[in-house]
């Protein structure tokens, strides 16, 4: 579905991505893990057009992906950013409306669906998103990405700041998203859970891919277990 | 001083940008015209004249550096000054120290006379000072219009406007009249209806408006709205092209205007034509002043027989009976202001300026 070849990203003097190759297969969950500062966010930002690469190509179903964020969204590639980035001054419902900006038809129905997923959001639908708690904002951010019925969903640490109960729900949700036929590229620090649901996984270190394979393979790699899963894995 | 064989350099300090740029440009162009005529006629004593024009956009700081530059870098003989008193006030001490004379039309007498009563050696005025000017108008109001109760509206933040009020009040009070009401505005104001209503309710016979042209336009428009309908006497800013600025020239009907010159006087005709030829536009009265400032300087250089600033300055102080476009110019060596200059009075009727002749108060003769 998404083919990334030789992607190079620089921030002034910082080499954030070093000729990264990565494929995301249709209908699968592809997980991307790596330490802080490995370049995961940079990769997602580059795919969604927020960051311009210095070299490399990104193809969606065989044709080059536009570099303008709004066109990328129209192509069905939607990014749920790290750190939520909800529209602080808009109400919860308006935030969701913005999520559906490119697909306004059937908005009302999908809105109800989202509220079913996270009833807390319905309770707060008239509240300004900036005053939501951290976790509530995260729920909103996920829904805002989902509501446009994307074909590829890029999720950057969706479980960040969520209570354990909700973390589990989010991972269930991600699997349900896959079941809906949406392709997912997932960046996660909850490596174990991420790898457990992933069909495919990549490990990023210092801007380069150092390992890839099925979720199970990566999970089984001793280096990964040591570096990313810590004692919890044992 | 400059090399005796080269061109004679004359400096021009004007507001070419900023809020008073219309005047600055007019003075500069008038001066340019005069210089081109002088040069065409063979120059001054065979030497061509060259102008150095600097923009000071109403800033004393810029004026001081421009003056210094004209003196130190360009080595000019004399300088054509702006019609802005504030600039003159900040230049007077500098000019005193550096010796190059400035001929300007700043009407505040403090520009030409020091606090101790002595004239500033190098500052010269070539039109009636604010005192002469307001006395002419006050006298006209009292004698020709027969007004007794007068109102004044002026811009409190504008030195030109303020300087024309006190001499007017003094003259009126001393000559049997009475200034019944003085109202003010600030240069940021665009709405004078409250002030105009106050004038209307004060029962004044006539109102004196020593104000700038933009405000003059607004005043007439708003006076109509308020229904204020007493004679108004305006100053230089009501001179042409004032009526062109009104949405309806008849708004100005019944206004009395003082100007430096008469359109019907023969000396103007050629200059006006040449100006229109050269710049493609109608000259405003500041243009004629720019022209005359050059005439004064050129005359002084000829009489001094030198381009030494000090000599030229001394010669300017003895200018006498020089025929300019704005009248016969004689400068008093005591205060460096012109002597006996009259103003030409007009009344606007049906949007046209109708000349009432030159007016000189008894005391000025």
């Amino acid at each position: 579905m998404l083919e990334i070849r030789g992607l190079d990203v620089w921030y002034r003097h910082i080499h954030a991505l070093d000729s990264v190759d990565l494929s995301v297969r249709a209908g699968e969950i592809t997980a991307l893990i790596g330490a802080n500062g490995a370049g995961k966010t940079s990769l997602l930002n580059t795919i969604s057009g927020l960051v311009a690469p210095r070299a490399g190509s990104i193809e969606l179903e065989g044709s080059a992906l536009s570099r303008a964020p709004h066109r990328i969204v129209r192509k069905g590639v939607v990014h749920v950013p790290e750190g939520r980035h909800v529209f602080a001054g808009l109400t919860v419902q308006e935030n969701l409306l913005m999520g559906a900006y490119t697909r306004r038809k059937g908005f009302a129905g999908r809105l109800q669906e989202m509220y079913r997923l996270f009833p807390r959001l319905e309770e707060r639908k008239k509240q300004q998103a900036g005053t939501l708690s951290g976790g509530e904002q995260q729920m909103l951010a996920i829904c805002r990405g989902l509501i446009s019925e994307p074909r590829v969903l890029l999720m950057d640490e969706p479980s960040l700041g969520l209570a354990p109960l909700l973390v589990r729900e989010v991972f269930e949700l991600i699997q349900r998203i896959r079941a809906m036929g949406i392709t997912v590229l997932l960046v996660e620090q909850n490596a174990m859970q991420a790898l457990a649901v992933a069909d495919h996984a990549y490990v990023l270190e210092n801007g380069s891919v150092v390992l890839s394979g099925t979720g199970g393979e990566v999970l089984a790699d001793p280096n990964v277990r040591h570096a990313y899963l810590g004692a919890a894995a044992d | 001083g400059q090399r005796e064989d080269g061109a004679i350099r004359i400096g021009v300090i004007q507001d070419l940008s900023g809020p008073t740029s219309v005047w600055g440009n007019a003075v500069a162009r008038g001066a340019e015209l005069a210089v081109s005529e002088i040069n065409a006629a063979g120059g001054i004593d065979g030497r061509q004249v060259e102008l150095r024009t600097y923009d000071v956009r109403l800033s004393p700081q810029e004026a001081i550096t421009a003056y210094n530059r004209l003196v130190d870098q360009d080595r000019v003989t004399a300088i054509v000054g702006p019609p802005i008193s504030n600039i003159g006030l900040s230049l007077a001490p500098v000019a005193q120290a550096k010796g190059v004379p400035i001929v300007g039309s700043f009407i505040d007498p403090r520009v030409t006379v020091q606090p101790n009563g002595e004239p500033w050696t190098n500052m010269f005025l070539m039109q009636p000072s604010s005192v002469q000017y307001s006395e002419i108008i006050a006298d006209f109001a009292l004698t020709e219009l027969g007004a007794r109760n007068l109102a004044v509206m002026y811009d409190q933040t504008n030195a030109f406007s303020v300087s024309l009020v006190e001499p007017f009040r003094n003259y009126v009070n001393a000559h049997g009249g009475n200034v019944a009401l003085e109202v003010t505005y600030t240069s940021d104001d665009r709405d004078f209806r409250t002030q105009l209503s106050q004038i209307q309710r004060s029962g004044a016979d006539a109102v004196y408006l020593p104000i700038y042209i933009q405000e003059a336009v607004l005043t007439l428009q708003q006076a109509e709205q308020v229904g204020l309908d007493i004679p108004m006497i305006g100053g230089l800013d009501f001179a042409p092209p004032f009526t062109d600025l009104l949405p309806d020239p008849t708004l100005a009907d019944g206004i009395y205007v003082a100007n430096n010159y008469s359109d019907s006087e023969p000396q103007l005709v050629d200059v006006r034509a040449a100006y229109m030829d050269m710049f493609g536009e109608e000259p405003i009265n500041k243009a004629f002043k720019g022209y005359d400032k050059i005439l004064i300087i050129a005359d002084a250089i000829r009489r001094a027989g030198s381009t030494e600033p000090a000599a030229v300055s001394r010669a300017i102080a003895r200018t006498s009976n020089l025929r300019g476009t704005t009248g016969i110019l004689t400068i008093s060596p005591d205060n460096h202001q012109p002597v006996g200059l009259s103003m030409v009075m007009y009344q606007i009727i049906n949007g046209e300026y109708s000349e009432l002749g030159r007016h000189v108060p008894e005391s000025h003769r």
């Binding site: 807390r120 951290g134 960040l160 109960l165 810590g230 919890a232 894995a233 | -």
Partner: protein, 303 residues
């Protein structure tokens, strides 16, 4: 003044015994004064052990009761956790404790001194240090300067010393710079001392926040989800780091965390909130087995 600086620059082993040392002005009521000032006789409100106590806190925003009638306390040298579902009001509690928001009702007492109602910076100087859930570093200052800022609050040179570079300035500034290195080293950020926060990844930014809060030498350190954005391996490292710092600086910590790993390993006492109110408290084991907590927060599948 001299004493303060010394206390701050040498790793303060004995600080616990002298709660006044190492912090700003007005912070050192003697132990003798401490216990009785404003503290009611309620359970656990007792003696020297309790450094921070909140009583009957209420806070609402419009119709939302973010915190209601909350009473909790933190004892010297302990690590206490505050957990609860998203939106339970945990961050709001931190905001009340650190003076970002004034409580609608209730009192907060720090080492015998009532701090509720004091302006935010005075609360900070009295000894409440914190990090933020959404990282709030100063983008205009580099990492070193971000940390330096916390040290500055304890520097006592005057404006004229600073403007004219009088000896007092040099003396204090040098001392601060020495300490700075220590704090940077504590979180292993020496390499990034002169980077701007925006150039760091999320995880490193969190460390800067931690160093900045540490440098203020708080009596009680409030950490709002410090392990968010770390992978399990990093969480382990983080726990070790925190344990080490706790020993070195004799910290008293109140921590909000969703990573049960951290809560279970570190805390001696856990408070659980939901809908603004406490629903349980106890040792980690008690909490882990409390059915109300399990159903509202942890989820039954959790081991």
């Amino acid at each position: 003044m001299q004493g303060e600086r010394n206390a701050a620059s040498t790793p303060p082993v004995g600080d616990a015994l002298a709660p006044g040392a190492g912090v700003g002005p007005g912070s050192g009521p003697s132990v003798g004064l401490g216990p009785s000032v404003g503290l009611g006789p309620g359970p656990g409100s007792g003696p020297e052990g309790v450094v921070l106590r909140a009583e009957g806190l209420d806070k609402h925003f419009g119709g939302v009761y973010a915190v209601r009638n909350l009473t909790m306390q933190v004892e010297q040298g302990h690590t206490v956790s505050l957990i609860g579902p998203n939106g339970a009001g945990k961050t709001t509690v931190f905001n009340l404790l650190s003076g970002v928001n004034p409580p609608d009702a209730g009192r907060i007492v720090l080492a015998g001194e009532e701090i509720s109602g004091m302006p935010q910076h005075q609360i900070a100087r009295a000894g409440i240090g914190r990090t933020f859930q959404n990282i709030r570093l100063f983008p205009g200052l580099d990492v070193a300067e971000n940390v330096m800022l916390s040290l500055d609050a304890r520097n006592r040179y005057h404006w004229y010393d600073g403007l004219l570079r009088l000896p007092a300035f040099h003396r204090e500034d040098r001392a601060s710079r020495d300490q700075l290195q220590e704090y940077l080293a504590a979180v292993a950020l020496e390499k990034y001392a002169h980077s701007k926060p925006a150039e760091l990844s999320y995880g490193y930014q969190r460390r800067v926040e931690l160093a900045r809060a540490l440098a203020a030498r708080p009596r009680v350190l409030l950490l709002d989800e410090p392990a968010a954005g770390l992978n399990p391996g990093e969480v382990e490292e983080f726990i070790e780091l925190l344990e080490r710092l706790k020993g070195d600086y004799n910290l008293t910590i109140l921590i909000i965390e969703h990573r049960m790993q951290v809560v279970m390993r570190m805390s001696s006492h856990v408070y659980v909130m939901n809908f603004g109110a406490l629903i349980a408290e106890g040792t980690p084991e008690q909490i882990q087995n409390d059915p109300a907590v399990v159903s509202a927060y942890i989820g039954d599948a959790h081991a």
